[in-house]
């Protein structure tokens, strides 16, 4: 998301994400003040994130983290934009059993390329357990949609479809990677 200043670019990045998150939880995103050209963290105010189900039964558990960087960008993508550097999304069963994990962490702790640099998914069932199943890069909004569409999670906003549609449209418009 572009902005005239680092603060503006960060606000443009966080706004749609926070609205998307509010579709399933009252928890809020947490971050530090913008520092250009440094990898920064985006977390959530509670974890696992509390969810509720439409049927009132036990709800799945959600984990979300990202890293991002404020960078100079040319043209309509600038002069400042936020680019995602890494993520970890995870859905557990109500009992806490790992079900599905989306990982993208292209660099190791020393900043060198990770041995598994591509976005991937862990499906924690049967012979798939421990496999790195390659994916495209996955948005936080997409994970929230999965919860609403396939995990019986109760939406907290009546307009959740339009909120997620808008957030994902921005994600597609501004991303600079395949």
């Amino acid at each position: 998301m572009a902005g005239r200043t680092p603060h503006e670019a960060l606000a443009a990045f966080l706004g749609p994400l926070q609205r998307a998150l509010s579709c399933v939880t009252p928890a809020v995103l947490v971050h530090r003040p913008p520092v250009p050209d440094h990898v920064q963290a985006l977390g959530v105010s509670e974890e696992p994130i509390r969810l509720t189900t439409t049927g009132g039964g036990p709800a799945p558990r959600l984990y979300l983290e990202q890293q991002y960087e404020l960078v100079k960008a040319p043209g309509e993508h600038g002069p400042w934009k936020v680019t995602t550097r890494a993520y970890r999304y995870r859905i557990d069963s109500p009992a806490g059993t790992e079900l599905v994990l989306w990982h993208w962490h292209p660099a190791d702790r020393q900043g060198n390329p990770h041995r598994r640099p591509r976005p991937h998914l862990h499906a924690q069932v049967g012979e798939l357990r421990g496999r790195h199943l390659l994916t495209g890069r996955v948005s936080m909004e997409a994970v929230i949609r999965v919860l609403l569409d396939d995990f019986d999670v109760r939406p907290r906003r009546s307009n959740w479809r339009s909120v997620l549609d808008a957030a994902e449209a921005q994600f597609e418009q501004w991303r600079t990677w395949p």
Partner: protein, 76 residues
């Protein structure tokens, strides 16, 4: 609010005028959140996590290690 969670505004809303907003943390708040997550999921302090992660003593492919590692910049 669960024990150890940071106290943050978490009001539910469908009203655009009351949209929840992301919260900007101070370094100290970020350090406390990192410490809480490291203790909750990995049974060590945030400082110990930082030291052991930098030393390569923790499995970077462990999902909870990854989750806490991604939050390290909150405390910088």
């Amino acid at each position: 609010m669960r024990r150890g969670e940071m106290e943050m505004a978490t009001s539910a809303t469908t009203d655009a005028a009351e949209e929840p907003r992301a919260r900007e943390l101070t370094r100290e708040e970020g350090r406390r959140l990192l410490d809480e997550r490291a203790r909750r999921f990995l049974h060590m302090s945030g400082a110990e996590f930082r030291r052991r992660y930098a030393a390569g003593e923790l499995d970077p492919d462990d999902d909870h290690v990854l989750g806490v590692a991604l939050l390290l910049p909150l405390a910088d």
